[in-house]
Each structure stands twice: as C-alpha cells, then as structure tokens.
Symmetry: D2
C-alpha cells in the first residue's frame, strides 16, 4: 500500500526564529516525524507549499486539488494549518473521487516538544489506510467527513456539525 | 464511539530510576499522552498490569483476554511490550469475536523524548475506529492481523510473515 | 549562601498560545527549571514582572533596581529578555554596591525543548556564587561586566565591546 | 580564556538501546549540549573514556590525572559518572596544582529529556571560569571542594561532609 503525504505547512511545520522571536517556515518536519515514529510504510513526502493556512488562496487550494488528482497513490495525507482545513476540505471533497484523502494538522509546532503533531500524524496514517474513498479531517483522535466538521476556535478543538 | 485502552506496561510506560540507573514501572502515561495529543475521543483507560512483556505469564494473558471480553466497549487498544506482542495476539485472536482489538507498544519509553509512543498510539486509535472485528498489531505505522506478524529482533521492526 | 532570583520575563518564560498561534507570558518556569536541574541551593524566586524586554520602561528598570537593593540577599540573578539586557545593566551597574547581580536570559523559550535556558541559568548560578560585587551579564557560557557587553542582533550572540 | 572538557562517560552520556532495552555508551553529547546552550567559550572537548563510573579503575583515574596535567589549558571540566566522582576527586585533588578542575555529571541521561545535564554543565562552566586553583565537584547547583563532598545515595544528592 503506497501513501503520499502532501505538506502544505501550518502550525505543524512552524519554527521559532530566535533572532526575531517570530514563528516562520523552513522545511517540513514530516521526514523526521516518520523516522521518530519508526514508520515503515511506503510513503512519498511532497512539499507543495509551506504557508500558514490563513494565507492560503483559492489558487493554492486548486494546486492541492491538482496534486491529489495527479498523484499515482490512491491514499493521501495532507498536512495543513488548522484554521482553514474545512475550507480546503470543501474544495477537495466534491472534486476527488476514488481516493482516500485525510487532512491533518497540529495545534502546536512539532519542534516545540509539547506538540500534538506525532499523534495526529499517527491517526491520519491509520485512517488513510483503512477508510473508503472520501475526503476527511483527522484531528483530536477523531475522523470527520469533510462536510461535517468545523474548528471551534474558542476551544481549539474540531467538532462535528450537522 | 467508545474505546477502552488496556494498559499492560511494556517499554511504552518505562521510567528511569535516577537513584539506581535502572528502568522501572510506576504508572501508565497514556492519560498524559492522550492529553498531549488533544484527544477528544471517549476513552476509558484501564491499567491491567504494569510489566515487561518478557515477564508476562499465561495467567497474565488470560487476564487480558478476560478483560477484553468483559469490557462493554467493542473497540479496544492494548498497550503492550513489543517482545511478546505476537504471543498475546495468538491468545486473543482465536478467542475474541465481534470486537476490534489493536495491540500497540513502543521501542523507546514515552518519557525519553525520542519515543515512537505518541505516533503508535495515534495509529492504533486510527485503526481501532475503522477496522472490522479482529485482533491486530499496530506498529511502525502498519497494521497486521495477529496471525501474520512477528517482531524482527535484529532490526527492531515488525514484519509480515506468511 | 542565599540567592534571590528576580524574574522579569523575556524569551525565557514565553509560552505558545495554541488558540492564537502567538507567544505570551503566563508564569515563570524558573521553579520547574531548578527542579529539573536538581538544584539544592537556597534560592528565593520572585516574579517582579513578566514582560518582553522591548516593552520595559524606565519605571520598570527602577523597580528592578529597587528590588535588588531591598533584597536581603547579596547574590541576585535576574532573568531578563535579551534585547535590552544591556540597558538594564547600565541602570543597575552604577547604582548597586556590595552585591553580585547576574543578568541572564534565553534565545529560545524554555518550553520549546531546544532552549538554551537551562544552560544559561546554570552558568548564571555558577557566576553569582563566585564573582565579586558587580553587575554582570551571563550569556553564551560567558560572563561580561555590565559596561562591556552588547547583543549582536545579527548573530544572536553577546559579545565584548571596548 | 581557554577551557578543556574531558569526557569520561557517566549517566550524562548514556543512550537507550531500543533493541535490547539497555543503556549503553556511544559518543559524548557534550558538543550537542554546548551548541544547544549557544555556548561561545573557547572549549576543546576530549573524550578520554566512555564508561560507567562504577567500572572506573585506578588506571583510569591515573589517565584522567595525566590528561589534566598534560592539558595546555589551566581550566578543565571533567564529565563523570556520579557514583565515584568523589573517588576521582580524591585522586586528582592532592596531585594537581595551579589548575582549576571541576567534576560534574548528571542523574539522568542527556538524551532522556528530563536531564539535569544542561544545568550542571552550565554551573560547571560558570565555576571553572571564576574559581581559584583546586579540584571541585559541581552538582545540584552547588560547588564543593573535592575533600568535603559525598553523594547521598538514598537521596541522589551531593552534600557537604566535614
């Protein structure tokens, strides 16, 4: 079973710039995370962009959609900022057929020690191997269909909407 | 969806005793790990035993089996030492019906920083929510049916046997 | 030998707000750091303020000076943002006599894992126990007299100026 | 000011072997630790041996003594297992003149996350730059003359003996 991970940035991959005290992006940490998890799946990691999801444009979402459709793999995990994961889900959901796509992210950068990133990446890889075709969001240990999820910004938790 | 986690110990939960320089067990860290993962699943954590899986007896395995069958939940994750995970799988596999049971563990203790525990717990929780009834082992990002897996001790990696 | 640590904030004590993605202050981590260092010195920790040193006003510096002079201890470590450590040193230096005062800080927040905070706190406590009266800055393993140090902002390193 | 660090092993530098579940030595982490501390002192790191201090023989202690005397630096930090630090101090103490030698170590391996190593290395480097000639032990934030210290094994704390 072959899996592609499309990295788009988000809190997941933020770094701390010790000269300016600001958060920024350098490269994705997904390779490091898979090594730390002693992951032995056949995974191709591809960085599409490295941005905060609040900066993500329609053109960016089109590019993500295109890469999902072009990928030779049927099982795709997308790492993504949590703030607009549901918008990207709404672009991918109606436009992808016959593939399993799981969006995931983190509330705290991987490099900060107290990150939820390793856990979320684990759940996303669990879901992507077992679910049927569709576009999903994996956060807080749970898996949501793209059209039934929203981020509760006060609590920082993803919840089901009906 | 309700999930029960049965903690049995294993590397997952080992601590470092700074007075003796030896590894030992105190309490399970699964609660901490679920908090760190911002997990919002309905999970009941139950410590059955807190031992190295090389010390696990037939009576211990019977107890694990009994707790699986007694649990009101149909979806169960068992944290377990990696050295005899396949033996426990072989006890549970033929004896449990109608439940999804996923065994997982870690190569490095959770408290050591470089642990694969968070990732493995994530994959196990992903698998347990989506797979059909059966007894499985979740390690290295992969999921194995209980009767097709073994730990390669030279590499420290779980692999499929046929 | 009794030591007082005056906490003023700075990168040392910054936290990551996972709801907003911004850095902020809650409480000082110095107590945690001393426990992690298994420190058995007689230390009193006092939080004077919890701010970024770029926000520090003349009134704030007067307050720090007053607390140094009022303290019953002759040996004082001040944790401080690195950006204006030299300005605070210039206020304290000429105005404190008969006490050993060591300013220290961190380039990366303590909670981020890759912090220099534990190391800097260690050097500062080493210096404060052994140096003669004066006001010093302890950063990068080195100790500078207050009137001969500046932060090189391009490199993020403290250096001697003459 | 030039400083030499002589690495002899000890808990400081222990690693976890995930295949056997045992602790072992590979290489010293002092270089990594100095980088993490953003240390800009002129330091030469030399590994003399990489052993548990309970295994240390008289010949080993002679070798440490010889390297202290041969070193061109007058300021030397020795990283050492905590169990026999006082014995090594008793060999070096009467035999070294005109140099500042500070022994330090850790209760928890550096790689385990909750280590006191960074703090202890910081204090040792603070002491070695400021103390007069002599042989000292730096642990728990404190500095002891070699002939007045012992490790309290029940508490895991170094204390003054008279």
């Amino acid at each position: 079973m072959q899996i592609r991970i499309l990295a788009t940035g988000g809190t997941f991959d933020k770094e701390y710039n010790e000269l300016t005290g600001e958060l920024f992006f350098k490269e994705t940490h997904i390779g490091d995370m898979l090594r730390l998890g002693r992951c032995h799946l056949e995974i191709e990691v591809e960085t599409i962009m490295m941005i905060d999801s609040l900066q993500m444009t329609d053109a960016d979402r089109d590019r993500i959609l295109r890469r999902c459709n072009e990928a030779r793999e049927d099982r795709i995990v997308i790492t993504h900022g949590t703030d607009t994961m549901e918008q990207t889900g709404a672009v991918l959901g109606p436009a992808i057929t016959g593939k399993v796509v799981v969006l995931t992210g983190a509330m705290v950068p991987y490099v900060f020690g107290s990150s939820d990133g390793m856990f979320n990446l684990g759940t996303a890889l669990g879901f992507v191997q077992t679910l049927g075709p569709g576009v999903y969001v994996a956060m807080n240990g749970r898996c949501f269909h793209w059209d039934e999820v929203r981020k509760n910004r006060e609590l920082g938790v993803f919840e089901r909407v009906t």
